[in-house]
């Protein structure tokens, strides 16, 4: 034996193996990752992969038969609800495990565990927002309700049954790239996912920016910039509806003028915010407006578009329900869909249920704070944040009667300086509620009464719950548990030294705006104000986009004899009603004499536009750039007065202002001695816009579809796993509200004929595996504005040609186990 060469070469081999098993920055452990029998190659599914399978699982009580159709949509048949929810958990894990877990890591502020210190600020903000605190409260609610407990326990067991049998080679490719392994699932994680959605939909506020605006401009000007209600509204519940007086009366605190409206406080904090575009359309037409005589219900929730998709399509059939629709990988039940009796859809309610209070602590230990004339002890929550490659960080968060102190001397948000103040958060999402019971009851609903009982369980996020039934009933409730507020309560940071600025109560559920079987034969919601603010007895706030609602109602009023096909046309409608209202006043105010020849040709493009944001047109790009430029011309001079974070007033505010008042105060550029007029601003904006558009034309990206460049990003922002440059029209204020990476995340049309006729599509695919042909298989169909028929499978259809694969999940007890 030649000892020395043996030792050296063995050492080299071992060293090589160790080096190739280690992660180097963004480079995964390359040996493991490239091994064809272990690494990413194992995720490259054969394009004709056979999903037939029979699996024995110890934790499954009974059994579940799963039939996949040609789009890989599973149709689950089980003899109990628990077995079905177990199967749902198993399927979510089998096709979406990485996404489910990643979403929960993000919600719980645990991304530092995966990617290190650069996620620390993000994580701390999630912890301080009380995401885990909220989820723990929600998990307790699940435990306390027997139905939810059985449902979530079964779902969790299903996820864990899949994880338990998972071989390392079968790990989703993202785990291999980021070099970690899945944890066990739990009901707390299900609750965390729910709270992530809750934050996405009910975590919208601009309290710090609005406080700054009020301080910089004064309350009088603030009212001009952020009016409490809009002129052009077509509320969800039509104008003219009479409401009984409020059962709950709210009083503005006596000190509000001095301590709230006129106080000059400000903050440089900008909290993370969910996209303010989160909105949606839904509408339903009654049988008297349809060709078949049956109601047609439509819904397209607008959310961030990601791969793998937020949604996973499936059918669940048990003796107590037969429900089809879009499900959330991360929780049990069908969220938006239909069953044998009815159909249901959601749009966001958009009410402000997140407010901040300034807290006066005795000292920096934050042990005591001044409340109602005495020092009160704060509670503390210790957030352990694990950081990859570093020791853990323990973030101490003080809790007050309002909620967690999100911002203090130790934390001021994302890389922002603090003003040294303490801000506690009051968020409705922290309150106990059990929204899974809402989904459960909706999935089982047979009639209006069941629906009405179900929506009681939806507290936060508040949603416009649309309903239609085969017996012909249609209904909408703006449902949620909403705080009754005095006018502009919570729009600014509120004093937190006593109880006078706290929410005084919740609006009783039966007083929420609602409408059943209306004379006009249809109901709709598109995130506009739910009721006429001058008639509804509670303050609603002023943050509602008005335009999609106006155009939807215009079409639905006009149309009759409708079919599902007409509904497709409406869902993908690119008509820009905002441009219809804005273009005349803009064009009237362009000083034609000052335009150069090429500017005139752009003017003609705008003038000849038929107001559709179609992808091949140049005019929508010109209009959007024009309006954006005009917006900046109007506001940027005022905004440059301060370095404090501000938000622009809504487009509707500016448009309504120039429509009624050509001498709107803010049109003047305060940095020039001259007094600018609407004509000056519009002309300047147009010239600037043309300059931008000329560049876009030179680059060949002036066509709206190209300019907008719709894309669907991978959740971890891995560009090769994303789909970019989709040529899709629409945009803000169009019914087809497809923006750059945000838009209709699930389009559904359901006609409640005796045999339900349903259609749907979402921009993704059933598999979360970037190596599967089912990863993005629906995207082109979605981008083209087309739909798939949704097949409701019956028990006898087992031999139907539409069934491509059959998976059996069997518990040990039901089979061969001795």
């Amino acid at each position: 034996m030649r000892i020395i060469p043996l030792l050296i070469s063995t050492l080299i081999t071992v060293a090589l193996i160790i080096l190739l098993s280690m992660q180097w920055g963004k480079v995964p452990p390359i040996g493991k990752f490239l091994s064809p029998q272990h690494g990413f190659w194992q995720n490259a599914d054969p394009i004709d992969k056979n999903f037939d399978e029979s699996v024995k699982l110890p934790d499954l009580a009974g059994k579940a038969e799963i039939y996949f159709d040609d789009r890989l949509v599973p149709h689950v048949f089980a003899s109990t609800d628990e077995d079905a929810y177990f199967a749902q958990g198993y399927l979510h894990a089998k096709f979406r495990l990485w996404q489910m877990e990643f979403q929960v890591y993000a919600a719980a502020g645990r991304l530092s565990e995966l990617i290190g210190r650069k996620a620390l600020n993000y994580d701390r903000e999630k912890r301080r927002l009380g995401m885990v605190y909220a989820a723990e409260i929600a998990a307790k609610e699940i435990e306390n309700d027997p139905t939810s407990k059985r449902e979530c326990d079964a779902y969790t067991a299903g996820v864990n049954a899949y994880i338990a049998n998972l071989k390392e080679s079968e790990l989703p490719v993202e785990y291999k790239l980021l070099n970690y392994k899945p944890e066990k699932w739990s009901n707390l994680k299900t609750a965390l996912f729910l709270k992530a959605m809750c934050y996405d939909l009910a975590g919208s506020e601009n309290d710090f920016e609005r406080t700054n605006a009020k301080t910089v401009f004064g309350f009088e000007d603030y009212e001009k910039m952020f009016p409490a209600a809009q002129d052009s509204v077509d509320p969800i519940i039509p104008k003219g509806t009479v409401y009984p007086p409020a059962a709950l009366s709210v009083k503005q605190p006596a000190s509000a003028d001095s301590l709230y409206f006129d106080i000059k406080d400000s903050s440089e904090i900008v909290p993370q915010k969910p996209k303010k575009d989160n909105g949606s359309n839904n509408w339903v037409v009654s049988g008297k407006k349809t060709k078949s005589g049956a109601p047609i219900l439509c819904n397209d929730p607008h959310l961030g578009l990601n791969l793998p998709s937020l949604w996973y399509e499936m059918q669940i059939n048990t003796p107590s329900m037969n429900v089809y629709g879009a499900t959330f990988p991360g929780g049990p039940g069908v969220i938006i869909g239909f069953n044998d009796s009815c159909a249901f859809g959601l749009t966001n309610g958009g009410r402000d249920v997140m407010d901040y209070y300034e807290i006066k602590f005795r000292d920096e230990t934050m042990k005591e704070y001044w409340f109602n004339g005495a020092w009160k002890a704060a509670d503390f929550r210790y957030e352990h944040i694990l950081i990859k490659g570093e020791p853990e960080m323990i973030d101490t968060v003080a809790y007050t009667v309002f909620g967690p102190v999100m911002f203090d001397k130790k934390f001021s948000g994302m890389q922002r300086r603090t003003n040294g103040n303490y801000y506690a958060l009051r968020w409705k999402g922290h309150d106990p509620s059990n929204e899974f019971l809402f989904f459960n009851k909706m999935d089982h609903a047979k009639n209006y009464d069941d629906y009405y009982a179900a929506i009681h369980y939806l507290h936060t996020p508040g949603q416009n719950c649309l309903f239609a039934c085969k017996n012909g009933d249609i209904a909408i409730w703006t449902q949620g548990e909403f705080p009754a507020k005095w006018k502009r309560q919570g729009e600014f940071i509120m004093p937190g030294t006593d109880s006078s600025y706290m929410w005084q109560g919740m609006i009783p559920q039966q007083e929420n705006p609602h409408l059943i079987n209306p004379e006009r034969g249809f109901l709709s919601s598109a995130n506009q104000v739910p009721a006429d603010p001058s008639a509804y007895p509670y303050y609603l706030g002023g943050d509602f986009p008005p335009y999609r609602g106006i155009i939807i109602n215009r079409y639905l009023n006009k149309w009759s004899n409708l079919t599902p096909k007409d509904m497709f046309t409406l869902q993908i409608e690119n008509y820009n009603v905002f441009a219809e209202m804005a273009r005349p006043v803009l064009m009237k105010n362009i000083d034609m004499n000052s335009l150069a020849e090429d500017e005139r040709s752009y003017f003609d493009t705008l003038a000849n536009w038929e107001l559709h944001n179609d992808p091949e047109l140049r005019a929508p790009t010109l209009f959007v750039v024009f309006w954006d430029t005009f917006n900046k011309v109007v506001w940027d001079d005022e905004f440059s007065k301060t370095k404090l974070p501000l938000v622009y007033p809504y487009a509707s505010t500016l448009l309504e202002a120039i429509l009624k008042d050509s001498a709107y105060k803010f049109l003047d550029n305060i940095n020039t001695p001259a007094k600018e007029t609407l004509r000056d601003d519009v002309t300047l904006a147009f010239k600037k816009a043309v300059a931008i558009c000329k560049l876009a034309d030179a680059d060949g990206r002036m066509q709206w579809g190209k300019y907008k460049g719709t894309k669907i990003n991978h959740l971890a922002r891995l560009a090769p796993f994303s789909r970019t440059d989709l040529n899709v029209g629409g945009g803000t204020n169009c019914i087809n509200a497809t923006k750059e990476d945000h838009g209709p995340s699930w389009r559904m049309v359901v006609e409640l004929t005796p045999k339900t006729d349903a259609y749907g599509v979402y921009p993704g695919g059933q598999s979360g595996n970037p190596g599967s042909p089912y990863y993005d298989s629906f995207i082109d169909t979605w981008a083209a504005g087309k739909y798939y028929p949704l097949w409701v499978m019956e028990k006898d259809d087992v031999k139907d040609k539409k069934v491509k694969y059959h998976m059996s999940l069997m518990g040990y007890t039901t089979n061969t186990r001795p």
């Binding site: 043996l6 081999t13 490239l34 970037p770 599967s772």
Partner: protein
């Protein structure tokens, strides 16, 4: 020559079996075992391990990729980043495996009593 070819084939086969039951570095064990059972001069032993696993991983990766229509390899070849070249990705895959197995087989060639013994076997 026959011994050389047998070593290559055996390394490939044993590495495949190791891949079913062991972590990815099972190829090193496989190449080492073959190198001990079939002693060769260090260079030939290295080359047997190298070529054996190179061929195995090349064929496996190519086979998987063709069944997958290149859906995933094209994406991974951008993540890594190899300019989206699947050919390069398969080549690097094979070279990494080959290098590890080659080194292990090289080590195995020294598990012998005398140099002469090896020379006798080689001749």
């Amino acid at each position: 020559m026959i011994r050389y070819i047998i070593s290559i084939v055996l390394t490939a086969l044993l590495s495949f079996v190791a891949g079913l039951y062991l972590p990815w570095w099972g190829i090193a064990l496989a190449a080492f075992v073959v190198g001990v059972i079939i002693p060769q001069r260090p260079f030939y032993s290295f080359m047997s391990g190298f070529i054996g696993v190179f061929l195995l991983w090349e064929i496996l990766a190519w086979w998987i990729d063709s069944k997958n229509d290149g859906i995933l390899s094209q994406k991974i070849a951008q993540v890594l980043p190899l300019g989206g070249s699947t050919v390069l990705l398969i080549l690097i895959t094979s070279l990494i495996g080959a290098l590890v197995a080659g080194c292990a087989a090289l080590a195995a060639s020294f598990v012998r009593w005398r140099v002469r013994e090896a020379e006798e076997v080689d001749n």
